[in-house]
Amino acid sequence: MIDQFPALQIMVPLVAAPICVMIRNPRWSWVCAMVASTLAFLISIILLQQVMANGVIRYAVGGWAAPSGIEYYIDAMNAAVLVLVSGISAVVLVYAYRSVAKSVPAEKHYLFYTAWLMCVCGLLGIVITGDAFNVFVFLEISSLSMYTLISFGQDRRALTASFRYLVLGSVGASFILIGIGFLYAATGTLNMTDLAARIPDSESQRAVLVAFSFLTMGVLIKSAVFPLHAWLPNAYTFAPVAVTAFLAGTATKVSLYVLLRFFFSVFGKDYSFGQHLLNGVLLPAAVAGFVLMSLVAIFQNDLRRMLAYSSVAQVGYIVAGFSLATQSGLTAGIVHVVNHGMVKASLFMAVGCILYRVGHVHTPSLDNLMKRMPFTCVAFIISGMGLIGVPLTVGFVSKFTLIEASLEKGWWAIAALVLLSSLMAIVYVGRVIEIMVFRRSRETGPESSGMCEAPLSMLVPLYVLVGVSLYFGINGSATLEVAGRAASFLLGGLQ
């Protein structure tokens, strides 16, 4: 049974999705999605434990051996991402029940949960597979369901946001497909392990180079690296907030995982960073991203938009960490993938709570919210501190590691800019906190002074995530150890 867990990881949400469609009842389809998601989460934890204990797991789908058949390949890196994706999915689903009930018409609920399950299935598939073409397939599954999820937004602008994402996402996906095609042409294989072995000996290095360029561009679009991020702010702003919380925690993180997998495992560190592409394009883009996008975030008046731009900035940190291409740099990037996933998901969940009660998230009008929604505000403040990187939060762990890594490599300017953009994060998060906590309410009507906290079914998952991220903030070595292991796997190449 336990040998089949890699397949079950994908199969559970994949099978649950059509069941959801058949159920049609809003409540029961939610239950179905919930059960499937929880199961996926448990499976991923077991997988992570196995990987940490016994090393890499390789699973031949359908019993077909690796080079010709599809292989699932799980090491510390993707096991951690699996846990992140399925965990956030499970937590946010609990939260989504009330949140979605308010914003999505009841007759569409079953479709919503179906799309959700497909999205989870796609994301988990991208992470778990060891086959290049399979990555593309799952990418399409997750992307299509993501477009659907975004279009469920109340605001009609959700449709244009979704459409723009669809166009750009399709471009990205087709770039990836082109890249994979070139790779296949150059090497005659699609299995990642095999690719890694054959690429250095390939006769058509030019084809490999083109493949590398297309793959990189495609993945950069999907992971919203500045300046290819333009689809993200609108999508995050207008999607149902539960979807945003889920996507912010997982979608871009999975794309970044793909980036890592291709750079380090398939092409190899020396090849990837031997190109001008990364030193000349990726690092400047990442740095410009976290500086400019933090600046933009300062000026946003819509809380969701502010967090969306902050997400683009955080992606910049992660990519900057990857660009260092050292053990500590990679560790910093990977840790930040996990940490930022948790922090941003919980922030968006807090925003969803506000949206649920207040009806809008126009920052200047959130004055004195602390009186009315103390628990939500406290959760927002704690997570906001995590975003800034206050000590004892996860943000501190990853930013500290990142700064340490860039100093180790001698890139003082990068370290200074990370600190600078952390200052900006203080400004944009602090501004919200200032308004929430300290600004006196302008209208002192009786209805605005009473407590109206979000329902428990939203607060509990929010606090679970906040608690987990606090735990990993205080016990930073737990995540750092997994990330360090993953980084050494990546630098060592596929085994």
Partner: protein
């Protein structure tokens, strides 16, 4: 427990319990502690005692050898005599400060390592400033603050120096240091401040006259002599000290000559006497170190005696201005006599204490071939004769009659002065008593024909000069005035110019601030134009522009990679 009875701690414990006693018992404590402390001190055998290990450092609080014991003895005697002199004082603050100050000074001379030296060094600064503040006038508050600043600066320099020295050598032992590294140079500077080197001396003439009557007597005994001890321990034989010392003996002469305030005159002559000791330390031979130690011993006595007699005059008349005094011999004969003994001692009249100690230094410099220095010391001796020996007693007790008919000094003051004066005479007549205490064994006879002759010649010629000047009307007339010393720079000139400088800084600050705000505003405007909602960076890009970016970037990547 017995460690707590070590003299420095004994004094500190006495200072702690002092406030809880009645005034009579406090005065008795001031007499009893020095006697008891001296007995304990003499009971310690030679060697290191009371070693406490603190954070990995072994702090030695009782390093007993002949040099430290000599200073310990004279400090105890000074504490006893000033305690007797201050019998009438009922001010708890002064009594506590006196005990703590004496304790810290004794602690300083017995400190076997630089860290405990630093502790006592700061201790003397903090304790002694209360003797100045105890006068409770605005002027004394300001003076005390200046004094404290300088003393603490000295302590800080010592700390910095000892840290660097420790870093260099890994040792905190307070042995011979020498001017060999930046660390030892800082320590040297720190000692120099307390020893009132030229240009570092202003605090002395500033602070001593500003203290309370009895406080001045106490102050004159400890701080500077502790510094001489520290120099003798750490920098014996450092040549530059010879020249510093020679300069020190000379330049207070003129300041003292024209000064009207007799307490300031005495402060200057104290400074000049320190110069002799510094020269002795600088020469560094056994004879000269002996000379410095002996001179420190004697100068505590005769300088104290002079301060006591002037203090008694102030106590009775309320002024120490030479221009307002004169003809007091009629009603204060004992004080007059004691003052004369002190004056005779300071100018090294044979049979008085100064003679037996100064001869050592003069001979040491002569043996060493430093005739320039020897000459400077002779000139300084003449200067002392003129400005202290003759001036102080003459202008106070003789000269033109001021018409004042004060009563004789109180009995305890008289007793203290007589005791001190007798010590001066005894040492002068039986120099062997002092010589047996000196760091190095001596076979030296001060009463040789040439010594006595030279000294008497000096004395007579100085007297002659004084008489001639007086007759010709060339001797500076004592007028109520303030004479300028170098401290005018930081007490007058700099503060006068300060408002202009402050204004300039304020203007500069305002200007810079405006400029910075201008730039900041422009920068902020640019950023905002780029990033506010709806601005290029922050609006939702159209599909076309997104695609444009993708294509441009793709081209860049392909070109970069394929080239």
């Amino acid at each position: 427990m017995t460690n707590l009875l070590a003299p420095p701690f004994l004094y500190l414990i006495a200072a702690l319990i002092c406030p809880f006693l009645s005034s009579r018992w406090r005065a008795l404590l001031l007499l009893g502690v020095p006697v008891f402390g001296l007995m304990i001190m003499l009971a310690y055998p030679v060697g290191d005692h009371v070693v406490w290990s603190v954070v990995g450092f072994d702090l030695t609080f009782m390093r007993v050898d002949r040099l430290s014991t000599l200073f310990g003895i004279i400090f105890s005697i000074a504490a006893l005599l000033s305690g007797l002199y201050a019998w009438h004082v009922r001010d708890t603050v002064q009594q506590v400060a006196t005990l703590a100050y004496a304790g810290a000074a004794i602690g300083g001379v017995f400190a076997g390592d630089l860290i405990s030296l630093f502790l006592w060094w700061e201790g003397t600064a903090v304790a002694s400033v209360f003797l100045i503040w105890a006068r409770r006038t605005p002027a004394s508050t300001a003076t005390g603050m200046r004094y404290l600043l300088v003393q603490v600066l000295s302590g800080v320099l010592l700390l910095a120096g000892l840290l660097m020295h420790y870093h260099d050598t890994g040792s905190i032992a307070f042995e011979h240091l020498g001017l060999v590294s930046p660390g030892t140079f800082l320590i040297f500077l720190s000692f120099g401040i307390k020893c009132a080197f030229p240009l570092l001396h202003n605090w002395l003439a500033d602070a001593y006259p500003a203290a309370t009557l009895t406080g001045t007597v106490v102050l004159s005994a400890f701080t500077t002599k502790m510094a001489v001890y520290a120099l003798a321990r750490g920098y014996a034989g450092t040549e530059v000290l010879i020249y510093i010392g020679a300069l020190m003996t000379l330049f207070p002469i003129f300041l003292a000559l024209v000064e009207d305030d007799l307490q300031r005159v005495l402060a200057y002559s104290l400074n000049s006497q320190l110069g002799f000791m510094v020269v002795g330390v600088g020469i560094g031979s056994e004879l000269s170190i002996n000379g410095s130690a002996a001179h420190a011993f004697c100068s505590v006595l005769y300088q104290g005696l002079l301060f006591m007699s002037v203090g008694a005059v102030v106590y009775r008349t309320g002024t120490s201005r030479a221009s307002q005094l004169g003809g007091l011999y009629r009603t204060m004969p004992v004080t007059m006599l004691c003052c004369l003994v002190g004056a005779a001692s300071i100018s090294a009249v044979p049979l008085f204490s100064g003679f037996v100690s100064k001869s050592l230094i003069l001979d040491a410099s002569g043996y060493n071939g430093n005739y320039v220095v020897w000459l400077a010391l002779l000139v300084a001796s003449v200067g002392v004769l003129v400005h202290t020996t003759i001036k102080v007693p003459y202008l106070t007790f003789f000269a033109k009659d001021s018409g004042k008919r004060p009563a004789e000094a109180p009995i305890h003051m008289r007793l203290a002065m007589i005791l001190t004066a007798s010590l001066c005479v005894i040492i002068g007549v039986f120099p062997g008593l002092l010589y047996s205490l000196l760091p190095y064994s001596v076979d030296y006879h001060p009463y040789t024909f040439d010594h006595v002759l030279v000294q008497l010649q000096l004395l007579l010629f100085a007297l002659l000069a004084f008489v001639v000047l007086k007759k010709l009307g060339l001797y500076p007339r004592m007028v109520q005035s303030t004479s300028l010393d170098t401290d005018v720079i930081y007490r007058k000139w700099l503060p006068d110019r300060l408002p202009a400088v402050t204004q300039w800084v304020v203007n500069l600050n305002a200007c810079a601030r405006q400029m910075a705000l201008g730039w900041l505003g422009t920068g902020y405007g640019m950023v905002e134009r780029l990033t506010r909602p709806g601005a290029p960076l922050a609006r939702g890009w159209s599909v076309a522009s997104m695609m444009f970016v993708v294509i441009v970037l793709m081209c860049a990547v392909l070109v970069l990679n394929l080239l």
